[in-house]
């Protein structure tokens, strides 16, 4: 299955998925297209449809070739899945794009919660407050989730606080840690090893497997704003959560 359209291509990746690619660079416009098509497709599941996964530039539709072949006889399952994805894209793009959510994330910066804030400030010859101000100023866009459950790949950070990863990665980073790696910023939803510069921590759970309809704080397409809270507020917010 391979198809070239004006502004996207569709191709099989293995016998159980088709991928639509909307561009070759990271851009908010491409993200919005992916998010819109994904929302549209997920509401129109066909027999054998398993799930869709968005990335920076594409949307993958996973399907069960056996069920698709049984349900749409006389045609290769790959062609059926590719045709359906193609239809979703054309129909979704005729409809209005899905609105983005605005998510405000409290962060306790520095101290025990952000052990690398001092280093990041020193690296840029600025004060810790400068780093916090620059980090809380922009609106960030979640391009996709990956790496681990609920981990956001976000864009929008001010390059003035871009900082290389730590020379030696930590063996365990606490869940909720907010960090910087190169020109990226993001948060660790679960405790994992990692080399990011940790500037703060959020008391809000970023991964909550008990909520099956919304298991992650962030979703692709979200607009994110960080705001600084004190240690007392951090503890208070944490106690409110289930």
């Amino acid at each position: 299955m391979e198809r070239q359209r004006d502004s996207y291509t569709i191709r099989s990746v293995g016998e159980a998925s088709v991928l639509a690619v909307f561009g070759d660079t990271i851009s908010p416009a491409v993200q919005k297209r992916i998010q819109t098509v994904q929302a549209y497709a997920e509401k129109r599941r066909f027999p054998g449809f398993i799930e869709t996964v968005g990335s920076y530039t594409g949307l993958t539709l996973y399907y069960d070739p056996w069920v698709v072949a049984q349900s749409f006889p006389g045609k290769k399952a790959a062609d059926t899945a590719g045709d359906l994805l193609d239809t979703y894209i054309r129909e979704a793009e005729a409809a209005s794009p899905v609105p983005s959510r605005n998510i405000h994330i409290p962060v306790c910066y520095g101290g025990a919660y952000g052990p690398d804030l001092e280093d990041v400030a020193a690296f840029h010859h600025m004060t810790e407050d400068d780093v916090i101000r620059i980090h809380t100023e922009p609106e960030y866009l979640v391009y996709m989730l990956g790496f681990c459950p609920g981990f956001p790949y976000m864009g929008g950070m001010d390059p003035h606080i871009a900082t290389p990863r730590r020379q030696s990665p930590r063996l365990s980073i606490p869940a909720g840690s907010i960090g910087i790696a190169g020109e990226q910023t993001g948060g660790y939803p679960i405790s994992t090893p990692g080399g990011w510069q940790l500037i703060g921590r959020t008391p809000v759970p970023m991964f909550r497997p008990w909520d099956e309809t919304e298991p992650t704080l962030l979703q692709a397409g979200d607009h994110v704003h960080f705001y600084a809270v004190s240690e007392e507020e951090f503890q208070q917010i944490r106690r409110q959560k289930p």
């Binding site: 990746v13 799930e51 990335s55 920076y56 594409g58 072949a69 790496f147 609920g150």
Partner: protein, 336 residues
Amino acid sequence: MNMHILGNSLMTTVQDLGRTGYQKYGVNVSGAMDPYSLRTANRLTGNPENAAALEMTLMAPSVVFDGPSVIALAGADMNPSAGGIPVPMNRPVYLPEGTVLSFGRPRRGCRCYMAVSGGLDVPSVMGSRSTYARASLGGFQGRTLIKGDSLPVGKMPEKGKKLQNILEKQKRKTAWTPWSAGIYPICESFLFRPFRYTEGLQYSDFSEESRTALERNRYRVTVHADRMGYRLEGEKLHLAVQKEMISEMASLGTIQIPSEGYPIVLMAEHQTCAGYPEIGQIILPDTARAAQLKPGDTMTFEKISLEEAENIYIQTEKQMRAMTAGIDAHIEQGGL
């Protein structure tokens, strides 16, 4: 009824057919590495195919049930015995209460699946009982099983009771049916056949020599082989021209090539996206076969067309369904 884990092992987890629908949240599918063997074991005990069972890797723990049970083992043959008597693979086996089931070294394969009639009744998390240990998610407390763990067993389904009634009458402590299920895909000849793949996302970006090298050479599974993926050793592979990658989709069976050139095959607990160029996509029936490889085993690769890949998938599913229908028919006809 409970299943008690009596010993330690390398990597024993609770798995079903996986957690689908959550990859967009960064949660991988997980589930049995060799789903065909899991499905076989489940059907042999009268369970639905997706029931939770044990996946035991290279070295299995001894276990005991505190009630009479019907179990089945499929996948790697780890020389199972019950109360000291060798028991067969791929058959329903009746164990009287308190019979200790133990295992030896694997005779072939790497992962053995043990289903118990009624299934392992651990909580379902995000629609699945599969363990995703790196995220401490699902299974039994989100982790690998250790000595002293006790896992609840669900209510025995009608087919399981039927098997129990028949096997109990055999006047032997431990009893099994005279018939067995087919053993796709784990027999020796299958394990060393080439692993078939279709072109990966960046296939055409690899140098001519690298594309040929993947088909011509043997690759060895290193010790860095787990539920997340297998690192391989062998001829290095490279892009024709180095280029910056944007993280793209990654799936079960993706063969990715990091810059040092050694292939990584992504398995059940792979990350949902990846930043390395992808040369190939191993077909799904062959990823199940790869689940039975141990560190030190070799892999060879054979490129096939997408059309062939789809046909093989559908043929495999047909064989699987014929086999499970046969199991059901045996149980219906009185199990013997």
